[in-house]
Subunit: 168 residues, 2 copies
């Protein structure tokens, strides 16, 4: 994280794991739509659309689909892009850094809270130390995200990511 | 603005003027606390505190004081910093890109809406084309900001900035 960042256990969720995949493949799985869609949602949910404009201020858009066929779009904005090392985005801003609109849901997302997510990749032996951190603005948002199954969800998605990289 | 940005007259406020000041001095007036505090609020309001961590994710903090002595703190986060050319910040995020908390006011600001502000500086003859744009998330926020006297306020502040640069 950058120098001003301090992990706050009341506001942040984090996830860390060593995986036997080179960080360059994980980066591509996070930043190329065709390599993100196969793993991004824990099955039987699916990611049926993805658009990525990989630069600060650029669009990160996905549409998740429930097993019942309901669509959940999510629109956010990249904040920091360091190839093969660090990716930061938020749903509190839309592309071009525009604030997300006030609405029942938060902005153009299918979740009712704002978050900023950071993925960090660090070479570890022949694999990668994979760290994910999600920052929230208040404890209620953090608790809600935890209750949605953050740790389990990100863990299953990472398993799916690793499996996908075998086919890349 | 960046490539995805499109001015939206229902959501954005903008201000442009040619001033007879080199852009390097205007940049310093926007990015050095001792050179920002003297001009940042239209008098008789004053800026009594300012903290700047000039990098994406860094803090932009000011405290404005009314003539009656009431303090109005504002905390935001820089998004883009291109020396002498472009400065972008928002109050929708706090330092380290953390989403601002949900509250009666917006985040840690003394205004009740989120915005992203962009200052752009371009050499124009012996002076500078000074452009300010403020993006909002919805029309209500934009109208509220306009009704607060955006154009007059930014115009007076720029007059004060130009006057201050004579003393720098």
């Amino acid at each position: 994280m950058n120098a001003t960042y301090q992990l706050n256990p009341k506001l942040d969720l984090s996830f860390e794991r060593i995986v036997e995949v080179p960080k360059e493949l994980i980066w591509r799985a996070w930043t190329q739509p065709q390599n993100l869609m196969p793993w991004f949602c824990p099955l039987p949910w699916r990611t049926i659309a993805c658009e990525i404009d990989l630069r600060p201020g650029g669009l990160f858009h996905t549409v998740m689909q429930s097993p019942e066929g309901q669509n959940f779009p999510n629109e956010g904005c990249y904040l920091e892009v360091i190839e093969n090392e660090k990716l930061v985005w938020t749903n509190a801003l839309l592309p071009g850094f525009r604030p997300a609109p006030a609405s029942a849901n938060c902005g153009n997302s299918s979740v009712s809270f704002f978050f900023t997510a950071t993925i960090q990749l660090e070479t570890h032996g022949t694999g990668t130390k994979y760290s994910a951190t999600v920052q929230h603005g208040d404890e209620a948002a953090c608790k809600q995200h935890a209750a949605m199954g953050f740790n389990e969800g990100w863990g299953i998605a990472l398993d799916q990511l690793v499996a996908h990289t075998q086919k890349m």
